[in-house]
Symmetry: C2
Amino acid sequence: MKYSRFFIPTLREAPADAVIASHILMLRAGLVRKLSNGLFAYLPLGLRVMRKLESIIRSGMEAAGSLEIKPTVVVPAEFWKESGRWEAMGESLLRVKNRQGMDFVVSPTAEEAFTALVRGELFSYKQLPLNFYQINTKYRDEIRPRYGLMRAREFIMKDAYSFHANDESLDEAYRAMGQAYRRIFKSCALNVIPVRADSGAMGGSGSEEFMVESEIGDNTLLICPECEDAANVEKASCRNDFELKNEDEARKAASAFPPPEIVDTPGVKTISELEAFFKGDLPATRHIKTLVYHAANVEHEMFKAKNEFFAVCIRGDLELNEAKLAALLKAGEVTLAAEADVERLTGAPIGFAGPVGLKQLPVIACQSAAALFGALSGANLRDKHYKNVCYGRDWQAQLIADLRVVKAGDRCVKCGAALYEKKGNELGHIFKLGKKYTLAMKLNYLDEAGVEQTPTMGCYGIGLDRTIAAVIEEHHDEHGIIWPMTLAPFHVVVIPIQNNAAVEEAALKLCAELESLGVEVLLDDRTERPGVRFNDADLMGIPFRVVIGEKNLLQAKVEVKRRGEASAKLIDAVCAAEQLALEVKNGIDALKTGS
Amino acid sequence: MKYSRFFIPTLREAPADAVIASHILMLRAGLVRKLSNGLFAYLPLGLRVMRKLESIIRSGMEAAGSLEIKPTVVVPAEFWKESGRWEAMGESLLRVKNRQGMDFVVSPTAEEAFTALVRGELFSYKQLPLNFYQINTKYRDEIRPRYGLMRAREFIMKDAYSFHANDESLDEAYRAMGQAYRRIFKSCALNVIPVRADSGAMGGSGSEEFMVESEIGDNTLLICPECEDAANVEKASCRNDFELKNEDEARKAASAFPPPEIVDTPGVKTISELEAFFKGDLPATRHIKTLVYHAANVEHEMFKAKNEFFAVCIRGDLELNEAKLAALLKAGEVTLAAEADVERLTGAPIGFAGPVGLKQLPVIACQSAAALFGALSGANLRDKHYKNVCYGRDWQAQLIADLRVVKAGDRCVKCGAALYEKKGNELGHIFKLGKKYTLAMKLNYLDEAGVEQTPTMGCYGIGLDRTIAAVIEEHHDEHGIIWPMTLAPFHVVVIPIQNNAAVEEAALKLCAELESLGVEVLLDDRTERPGVRFNDADLMGIPFRVVIGEKNLLQAKVEVKRRGEASAKLIDAVCAAEQLALEVKNGIDALKTGS
């Protein structure tokens, strides 16, 4: 491909709103352009990279036994109403009314479309498992799209969905996808951190996120330096520095304390105010913090009401992890109750709630609170707290679970080492969805006995745009992008430095030889001076730069420089194409096969 | 690929709403499924066909010098407001408001997005011409989507846009695209009719549509059996059976008639009523039919008002072609005036309008009316007509043009042969857009003299889904699809008819050999009986069916049948793969290279 017939509008400077390396370099190297806030157009060079990534992902999906299909981007809202997400998804869902007033969705994800499609085709257990994917346009109406392709409104996603007769079959597909994902990201030369994750609004349990470290990441990861276990903060656990007692032990522990006693705490509301008030006699580790939450779409079998308030108790020094709470209650969303609700339900202003004698609310306890004896808690009366509160004797919770936010310094569940934090961006995600969608959308099949059954589901996503951005984040220097061979838009750029027939002919000949060997080559035939073309080659990040000049040609040599390496070398012109083709192939193989 | 690991849900019967062959067969052969009205999902087999078509189109675009890019599907409404199409497009444009209340469009076409993109990049004449395309999702909010993929709401379109410094450069790109289109459709084994077309709401002039004949076509084509010239009825001309006189001739012709004379025509309004009333003395060929039209967004330099009423005169036996009228006035839309407007503007009820003495309206004449002397016309008075009306003496038009609807039997402009009609479906369309978008959206560049100039534009579309549907319409029989080799989802289907090791091994061996030769092969390893598998092979339309059976294997033979041919033949198993690979290659070459 000749540069003069291609279109690579490189820029010296990126616009001011580009602040991270990938955003800056994708604009500067002419890979993409901004059409509007959060909307980017791929230019020819960027699209070549996208096509290569698509091809890597297709190979991975094929290996995992997934078949490509293509539903529409605009889908009927009725599917989303069936699944319940028309209401649950909130404003990030782009909703459209057509001329006949019918509701549609510009797909942000496609559990519904795939489930609806399979519903029309699945009759018998013999057809299972089924595993389909698409690589298609998605739209998420981000409030604040930013960081370029890392968080755009419209993006390209690979999303796969699998349907199974039993958990073993789902496990198998899930494992195969996990392996495929590792291979895919390895092929992209990406250092991903596989992370146990909360499955958020997607429903179900059993999931793994594939993260890349990033200063501007949306996710906080807790990583163990010893066993390298990583978890999203939303789901991270840590070794407890308390122990739950059985009934006898609890009775014994409580016997050491007199019954709860009211203490006047005028205007003393927060944990730190209470610590100060008691002058260190009662540190936060001996407080029970009680928060009132409203939970929407509760599906935990213990609670009948779909929408309910809960009192949630946790040890005073710890933060409550709302994602864990929502997962425990199987709730669509949990939000702190408004002040008026707190007063109505506890009888006291915010700051004085506690589990003792609390009748109007179901009580949920973090293990950290249920392990406390002789603790301080709110008394559900203005300006009053209880001392000597003991779990089991003075209060009980309907559910006890780990609800704490794990933070740097907490200890690894497995090995006890102190965890550290990193910010991460999610590139991929694999989930065991379970039957959330198949039940809601009434997808059934007949088993061997002719009995109607509901299949269980898995879903598996990769964001293509942000994967490309992540590759650039990981592979660049001050001069520009350094593409891994597998994703490079061209493998070789050939730059003839003089404008004369011998040099041009040698350049054309080399390009033709390279192309006949399957090497993708860009001939920079512009009349710009060499320095400009060298800088553009570095900026575009093409793995090999071949400079053809009069002086070297006299010795039948050409100059080859590997992007990212400091120095160039002279090689014989006659075998340059073959040598480069071999290096390109080796570069690709090294990433794709791991050899 | 093994059938058992693929997903081809063939059907015995198509749903009742499928009435045309392509719709029926795409559903029955498991290529697509309906997700909702006008929304179809491609299943694995259909997607393979789509990918092949994409690849054919990409080669064509490369040959025409167009570079692939990928703007977003959802684009800001501001671009459409700049171009004026936010208002002009009407309800077929799917409009979306995001959470911040900003307007967006789900793209039905992308003149605006490409113009906006180029606006950010174009500075100098040296960069021109520019030529970009995308293959991307489009959406048109059809009132009544039907005929399956022939007229869906969401569809895949290849749309290219070129930008030029002058008309010669545009002509060159337009010609190259025309050639590419001919090659693309030929590669698809489609018999397309290139048709001069009206460019409709797209603006500009100079365009060609690529039509396929279809009973359910949206377009009426007029075709000359002699010179094979074809035109869309919206733009078709024919040889005139009248002649326009110059001023002298007109004066002379008029002198043969007395001045206009009022005739009482109580309640006689229509042409046929008038013919009956005058008992054949004044046939429709001597009537002037006067219609009052409202034209919106008039851009003809002769008329200052953007929205205006016009009186349009045509000979009584002819139909007025509204597309020609709109093109003449450079109007966005023309519609017949309401009764009240006709009364207000002509002073008489509908049926009595005429050009004589008509003061309140600009008069436009079809040549057929301006050639009439001694004609009958309305008198702009209730129940009155004029006799003896002569053009030039009694009335004059501000514009005279060909405004008639051409119909079967009218004579070819070039050779005089009687034209015939066909219904056609448009698969592709190439336009010279001119400066409509570049002016409206202020896309400029500096010419050699440093003067700001506006580039001229071309645009070039192909509907991929309907191209696939058209291929099936043209290539099928009562058993199913008959794919051309270039688009076949697989080249060969291998059917082992017995369920034993020798047969299965021979089948696997042949498949492996075929695949190593680059032949795409489907191994029908299902346990269905042979008849079912033969029927499915015919339905899917795979070009070669190879049956492997015990008896033939004893003689080291396999049975090969070409889809669409009546009989099978036995060939030596040992050279079957090589022979089939050669035939596949020849089949592809014959379509792609025309040899």
